[in-house]
Symmetry: C2
Subunit: 401 residues, 2 copies
């Protein structure tokens, strides 16, 4: 398992020096009011065969997950959070008092926050295929005693959801979910939940997502996959996790990161600001702040993510298509019975507002209870992750029992 292991940069020659110009937001290490505080991940180990949508079988699966808040007596106050491509199960709180960063959706989840842990029992698991503790390509295949590598089955968003269903029912023993909430790939999971387990989920809150990966989005993912698999250290997928195809993975991440922002947002945040002390005498030193920022993104990603997982998860996203060959989104969404709120963000060009709106239009054509809301934001696709009172109000109102 590569995740969490901080290994050094392999990029030789001293050409690249990473400068962090934009540290991720930090939180106080105190257990503040309004924070879920110290949390612990647990593992759901399911020692029986898991059937993938492809027909392939995993002999057993593990899902790493966290929960926040308390289950009520009726066991009907649980909210499942779906994470995005590079996310994980740790979406709120801190693991150690010395953690500089809290979970990736800590602004959204906590006591008195839009996803209120004083009211709801919140669950988030690392997806099947991931590299943060759940079964994925770097996990050991119990049949061989070695890492699956490329023998891992090609998984789908549906498989991720089925694994979550096993966690929710078999491990946590819940009869129902109050809601499934998620942005980007997390929104795909929400939609898939509504289709696959309509009687099990009451509300769906997909945001910054799509019912069908576009050609442009596939194209970006494909370039990322090629960057990884053409890295000599990829070695056909047989690499020591400490010495993986980090260059390819960093390039993939840097490129993808641009698609998570917006032209306008980058202009405001970086513009043509130059790195302090940049002599601009070589082609290689970061000259513009935006270059430093991207290098930092690449570097921090290779320290926490596995390249093979990146291939599998991007493939699952690329294959996600609720329109089907006939282009009939209604047919795919007809099984949904949950109330749906889809949220688009004005500057999101990866999964633009129109994609989110189309989900609601299709549901309305099926006679379902669905609403669309659009949040004005300059921050692109990642808007769902940042401070937004407008989004908070939408989420908290929609989730009110």
């Amino acid at each position: 398992m590569a995740a969490g292991v901080c290994h050094g940069l392999p990029w030789g020659g001293g050409l690249i020096s990473f400068v962090c110009v934009n540290d991720p937001p930090t939180v106080s290490t105190q257990d503040l009011p309004g924070e879920v505080g110290l949390v612990e991940a647990r593992d759901f180990v399911r020692r029986k065969p898991f059937l993938c949508a492809s027909g392939d079988v995993l002999p057993e699966i593990t899902l790493r997950y966290e929960t926040y808040g308390h289950l009520n007596r009726a066991k009907d106050n649980a909210i499942l959070i779906g994470h995005a491509l590079s996310g994980d199960h740790h979406c709120a709180g801190i693991h150690r008092m010395t953690d500089r960063k809290s979970g990736w959706w800590n602004n959204m989840i906590g006591p008195g926050k839009p996803i209120d842990t004083e009211r709801f029992f919140v669950i988030c698991s690392n997806v099947l295929g991931g590299c943060m503790g759940s079964t994925g390509p770097r996990s050991t295949d119990p049949r061989t005693g070695e890492a699956y590598g490329l023998d891992f089955p090609i998984i789908s968003i549906r498989d991720m959801v089925d694994a979550q269903y096993a966690l929710i029912t078999e491990e946590l023993g819940l009869p129902v979910l109050h809601a499934v909430v998620g942005g980007s790939m997390g929104g795909m999971q929400a939609l898939e939940w509504g289709r696959a387990y309509p009687d099990f989920v009451r509300r769906l809150l997909p945001m910054a997502t799509t019912a069908r990966q576009s050609a442009q989005a596939i194209a970006f993912n494909e370039v990322g996959r090629i960057a990884i698999t053409q890295d000599p250290r990829w070695n056909g997928g047989r690499y020591d996790p400490q010495r993986g195809p980090d260059v390819g993975l960093a390039v993939a991440r840097m490129m993808a990161h641009i698609t998570y922002l917006s032209d306008q947002g980058m202009e405001v945040k970086f513009g043509r600001e130059r790195v302090a002390g940049s002599t601009a005498r070589t082609l290689f030193d970061p000259e513009f702040e935006v270059e430093s920022y991207l290098r930092y993104q690449g570097r921090s990603f290779i320290n926490r993510f596995d390249a093979t997982s990146y291939l599998y998860i991007t493939k699952a996203i690329d294959r996600f298509d609720l329109y089907g060959p006939e282009g009939q989104l209604e047919e795919s969404l007809r099984p949904v019975t949950a109330r749906v709120l889809a949220v688009g963000f004005s500057s999101d060009w990866l999964f633009p507002p129109s994609h989110n709106r189309a989900i609601v239009h299709a549901l309305l054509r099926c006679g379902r209870d669905a609403s669309y809301a659009e949040v004005k934001s300059d921050l692109g696709h990642d808007s769902f992750l940042v401070h937004s009172p407008e989004l908070y109000a939408l989420v908290s109102d929609f989730l009110a029992p």
Copy 2:
């Protein structure tokens, strides 16, 4: 010189197979009416020092160029074409009767075409820093007898223009240019011409361009540069042109190519069409047509472009900023006396319409004769290269003497 040499793909392991789903448009090999027909490139060899804007000096420079049409007696009917990042001097006609492809702007340039070679004497040179015959990093430094490599000075758009000026005045002996026309980086050259040699040029026709490279555009270029320089075959810039950092260069090109298209255009052209015969049983075979197309783009680029040139030219583009630190575009454009038509394309998100419009607004604020036209197109940044009667009419009307 790597350019034009067709060397094999280095990407081992059989994982990547390129399938060409979209051959570039071909032309008849006949010398058709309306075509400039067979053309020849020539070299302008300037055996005296060339002073770059940085203060660095090149001991001599060569510019490879082509001309079409005839110079009139007054020598005032010449039009200079500026090419884009990956373009070259060969913008119309064919080199051999067996050529499957004609020059990159053959639809625009020729007898009776918008840039009419029956009326105008058309000139196009490979830019300084390029790899298609003009002096660039792969050229031999006469002082050492070896390729410049990274000892090549960091050049600017202004240097490209100064070299063109030497060609126009010293080699061709022209007293004036009727117009400078170019898209993308070619448009930057047009603007720089108007500033640097205001008395020499009567009309400027920049299109799909910008007066200032945006943070997002810098970011994409930077990821491309990192893909190249982190390729083990980059080797600090000391590589055999036959065995250069082709993987990095291909990744850079594939990513950049996405920015030349548009979301909508890709949806129409590729959508989620699957490659015929795709079994979808592996993560690596191209599954979607858009993937095949991009791989083809990557492959054909490494056969014709040099990685070090790519670094230098993208750097020149990234540093292009007529706003300056004070954000005063008017100040930079005040010297311009030429009539200007700037053309933006509705779906261009690399150099969006607003960037082209801003050029004209600044010129108007300086009291200059400038117009802006916007062409509706779904084809993104590359719209200036494709068949467009609307664009043709704009160009031909604007150039009319």
